[in-house]
């Protein structure tokens, strides 16, 4: 039915890149403004959820199979923990970002960016995966 609604299809197509871009803005500007990994992940995921709502779950899964999402959700955790492990091998305690760069200020900055990136990836993939699971029920 929704296939015959051109307004919805076109509008969502137009919006999609902006949603993705906004998510990236929230992600990487999180250290200076409001935002961060969780919010960015939800926004990024919502664009795929919108796509699935308008074009159907089948098409969304062609773009982003659930196996890929599963791997991404694990990857985010690894990015987060891995950041901690790097500082661990630099001779400090786990998750001490100071060790990540030549001075503490930059170190903290990089540390937060990396950790939030991990959070963003996991939140995005988990949100989308939860939607897939619910939308795919009973098929």
């Amino acid at each position: 039915m929704i296939q015959r609604k051109p307004i919805l299809r076109v509008t969502s197509k137009v919006f999609m890149p902006f949603i993705l871009l906004y998510a990236l803005y929230v992600q990487f500007h999180g250290d200076f403004g409001p935002g961060g990994g969780f919010q960015a992940g939800v926004i990024f995921g919502s664009s795929f959820i919108l796509y699935a709502l308008i074009f159907g779950l089948h098409d969304a899964k062609l773009v982003l199979p659930s196996a890929v999402l599963e791997i991404l959700s694990a990857l985010g955790v690894l990015v987060y923990a891995g950041t901690g492990v790097v500082s661990f091998f630099m001779g400090s305690n786990f998750l001490n970002y100071n060790a990540l760069a030549h001075d503490a200020l930059h170190g903290q900055h990089y540390g937060i960016l990396l950790v939030e990136l991990g959070v963003g990836i996991t939140v995005f993939s988990s949100m989308t995966l939860i939607f897939y699971v619910f939308a795919g029920r009973g098929r």
Binding site: I71, A74, L75, V77, G82, N93, F94, N96
Partner: protein, 491 residues
């Protein structure tokens, strides 16, 4: 590297779990979980050694110093619990492969191992952390992965059991956070040692403190399944896959008991119990649990359910020991923590072997199983004897210590009740032995002994049940040091 041991304990399983998801292969996932849990066990032994020789270990996350940052603080008490959890984790993953392949749908096995490793992370984290809120986070990690593991059971009722556990577990966790919030309101800190330092001068009759103690006690009692808050436990244990049951029965409730000890003795200190009378309330529920749950266990036809009710009764013994508020009592509780983990793990692993070969948990269908699976049932008998408290098994050590604590507290009737409730254990263990050995096999005549990869871990546990029943120097010795520390009030 030895300075980083506390974080390695948590980090190894935490980082291995995502790899299980990424590699998406059941055998590789099993191998990862086996290597990781063995590594965790090694790390926990190193930590225990370090604590016993050098004293308390403290590790600051991100080098943020203690009351502000998150601290991992390991003394004899949690080093001891870490070894218990990690040892059971290693044994269960050694055992798990065949049982898991048979009981869990093929395409979900790698997810099972992921949840298993996360649960291990959560339980070890709860034990190692020195920050009360961080403890809540690890509690949620372990609980959420537990719900997922329970729901993987073959029986469809596993889903409702898991949901019931989710509701009760969430309630418990919420109560814990509410209690913690009240404490934070009074002290402005979340670090366990700092909480102790700030509470020590406060008047125990302040309403907020008492409310905090009440919320923490009820929340943790839900988690550790103290009678009458145990309602989630029988279903969760009966319908979860056998491997999961063995793991949970030996670790999840034990770690909750450890947290309760921390809250009672390290955060609040012994004095508040005399003011509030909480110890008497706990003692009544502990004794009621020993009798009611053991009696219910006698009437079960499902062997897993029977053992689950027996777990509720055994938790009664642990809490009874703690409610004496003397060092002997707490050491009895602590030593029973380990001993019950050993005996219940033995029993559930043996049941897992039976399920693997016969596909049933109904006692009425197990006629003569002792003749067909002598090694499995032999181990079960050792576990069952420990549940009763027969000399030369671990159960005897706990009961002996518990009864001496009752004498020390001048409570002769309680000592009599402990002995009386052991008789109930005789009845439900004997029922199984009678069916397994004294009845002729009726059906499933082609049943063979369980594979060696399941029997070896099973007999390691059964051997431990005997060994630690004879040589109590290590277990009871450490438990006594830990109990002295807790009751003595040194944080």
């Amino acid at each position: 590297m030895s300075a980083h041991l506390p974080i390695l304990q948590i980090l190894i399983p935490l980082m291995a779990a995502p790899f299980c998801v990424i590699l998406r292969h059941r055998d590789i996932a099993w191998l990862i979980s086996l290597i990781v849990s063995l590594a965790c066990f090694a790390v926990s032994l190193l930590i225990l050694d370090q604590v016993l020789t050098q004293g308390v270990i403290s590790y600051f996350m991100g080098d943020w110093p203690a009351p502000w940052g998150i601290e991992f603080r390991i003394d004899v008490v949690n080093a001891y619990v870490l070894v218990i959890v990690a040892a059971i984790g290693a044994i269960v993953s050694l055992y798990g492969r065949h049982s898991v392949n048979k009981e869990i749908p093929k395409n979900r096995i790698y997810l099972f191992y992921t949840a298993y490793l996360l649960c291990l992370t959560g339980l070890l984290g709860m034990t190692a952390t020195g920050d009360a809120f961080n403890l809540f986070v690890f509690l949620e990690i372990s609980s959420l992965s537990t719900y997922a593991m329970v729901s993987l059971g073959k029986d469809r009722r596993a889903l409702t059991a898991s949901y019931q556990y989710l509701v009760m577990g969430t309630l418990g966790a919420t109560f814990y956070v509410i209690g913690l919030g009240l404490l934070y309101m009074m002290t402005g800190t979340l670090n366990i040692v700092d909480l102790h330092d700030r509470l020590v001068g406060m008047d125990g009759s302040i309403r907020t403190l008492q409310a905090a103690l009440a919320f923490l006690t009820v929340g943790l009692s839900l988690k550790l399944a103290l009678f009458p808050l145990h309602l989630w436990l029988p279903n969760a244990y009966s319908y979860a896959p056998s491997t999961v049951t063995a793991f949970l029965a030996a670790t999840a409730t034990k770690v909750a008991v450890y947290v309760m000890l921390r809250v009672f003795f390290t955060i609040f200190g012994v004095d508040i119990f005399e003011e509030t009378g909480l110890a008497n309330v706990l003692m009544i529920f502990a004794i009621a649990g020993m009798f009611v749950a053991s009696t219910v266990a006698i009437f079960q036809n499902n062997i897993k359910r029977m053992l689950a009710y027996s777990s509720v009764a055994q938790i009664g013994y642990i809490m009874l020991g703690i409610s004496f508020l003397n060092a002997t009592g707490v050491s009895a509780g602590l030593v029973h923590l380990l001993n019950h983990a050993i005996m219940k793990c033995t029993c559930f692993l043996a049941v897992g072997c039976i399920v693997y070969r016969m596909g049933t948990v109904r006692l009425s269908e197990l006629n003569g199983v002792g003749k067909k699976m002598p090694w499995t049932m032999g181990a079960f008998v050792i576990g069952g004897m420990s549940l009763i408290g027969v000399p030369l098994t671990v159960g005897f050590v706990s009961k002996w210590q518990l009864i001496s604590a009752a004498f020390e507290a001048d409570m002769m009737p309680v000592a009599a009740l402990i002995l009386l409730s052991s008789l109930l254990a005789v009845i439900y263990v004997w029922r199984v032995i009678e069916i397994a050995y004294f009845r002729e096999p009726t059906q499933n005549t082609g049943v063979k002994e369980a594979p060696l990869s399941m029997l070896i871990p099973l007999w390691i546990m059964a051997g431990a049940a005997i060994y630690f029943g004879i040589d109590t120097g290590m277990t009871l010795g450490i438990a006594e040091i830990a109990a002295d520390m807790l009751v003595g009030g040194t944080p």
